[in-house]
Symmetry: C2
Subunit: 230 residues, 2 copies
């Protein structure tokens, strides 16, 4: 399957590697391809230079946001949440129309220090997932995987035999069903995927970040996740 | 121990019953004692009338907010989060000064329908726990138990052999330590109590509510809790 990943940070890289391993044809989208490949510095999130990473991921293509979006039959938003809507606008509404868009991003606001808060206009009574859906009404936005460290997204068995929770939400039942099949390929069992409802439930999924960030600060690492005990 | 519970709803009742069972001397505080005892209607949250409940909890005293606060060596805020600061002001700063105040409330805003959002001014970059601490600087506010159904607060063993998480936060390490001992009496094991840090961590604990409410909507009941898998 041809899959576009918008964003080249740690989340995009983790997903890209896994998708290639699963025999998909992957193009990552970035603002400026030449700059991205030329840079030898860590990115602003502290990730190693993309130019290093791509050397061990040679099957991954790199294009502009728009090239990637046009390429993908399925599109994944793995950008920084503060920039997601802008990056998706640059990807082009017509390149996204009619497609499933998996939104993994979180609307974090680092302007008040660490741990970050949520971006006020994209939280509580709104969410990034909803904002993307409102901006691109022809796209089937599915929010999932945003509540955990990227290492677990594509390898849930890394902890607790994979028995922990991944939330999914979106307006299209059919789109969620397709995404769930991809999540199964990532290693997620159906009983560990909880459908929270329509895309307004992204408010709840994104609200996991404040507690996730605090717990990460205490456990000193991202290799944990929440499980629902009943 | 003499313990005051501010608020007479389902959380206050669950805590009061348990505290009496543990041989504490409990006074619940309400705005108007005569009205509270006279009312035979369900309260605004749908709880059975307090006048019914008190008949099977005869050891629990009822006083005004201020009487309860003056009575308690320890004070527990179990009011509706939207009214908590007002109720505590009515309880009297001098009655609270120097005491530990366990804050179990959540700043829910029902004005936009169900599930409720969080009160904007008391979320994200603020929290109810912090607001109470700022309003009563002489009080040692400890936030805990707010992330679950009240049945689990005082009986964690009801599900998963008690192996699920309860967060605690507050500025005073000594106060948190004392509260932790009370939580132990409620049935909480130390390994299931996670200290998130100072009272600003109440932002994170209160941010659990949006996802908790969505999950409750799906599981159709409150007898669940989150566990941290590592």
């Amino acid at each position: 399957m041809k899959i576009a990943i918008i964003g080249t940070g740690s989340v995009g890289r983790a997903i890209a590697s896994k998708l290639v391993e699963l025999d998909n044809d992957v193009m990552m989208g970035t603002r400026n391809v030449t700059e991205k490949l030329a840079s030898t510095a860590k990115d602003y999130m502290g990730n190693p230079p993309f130019s290093d990473w791509i050397k061990s991921n040679l099957k991954v293509k790199l294009g502009t946001f728009a090239e990637a979006a046009a390429f993908g039959e399925l599109v994944i938003n793995a950008t920084n949440g503060a920039n997601s809507v802008t990056a998706l606008i640059l990807s082009g509404a017509k390149n996204l129309a009619g497609k499933i868009l998996i939104d993994i991003a979180n609307p974090l606001d680092f302007s008040n220090g660490i741990p970050p808060s949520l971006i006020t206009t994209l939280s509580n009574t709104n969410s990034l997932g909803e904002e993307i859906q409102k901006t691109f009404p022809d796209v089937m936005v599915v929010k999932t995987l945003n509540t955990m460290w990227n290492g677990l997204m594509v390898n849930p068995d890394l902890i607790g035999k994979g028995d922990h929770i991944n939330f999914i939400s979106g307006n299209s039942t059919q789109a969620k069903s397709k995404v769930q099949k991809l999540l199964n390929q990532f290693g997620w069992k159906n009983e560990n995927i909880m459908d929270l409802g329509d895309i307004t439930a992204a408010r709840a999924a994104e609200s996991v970040l404040p507690i996730w960030l605090r717990v990460m600060g205490i456990t000193k690492g991202g290799a944990f996740n929440f499980k629902i005990v009943r």
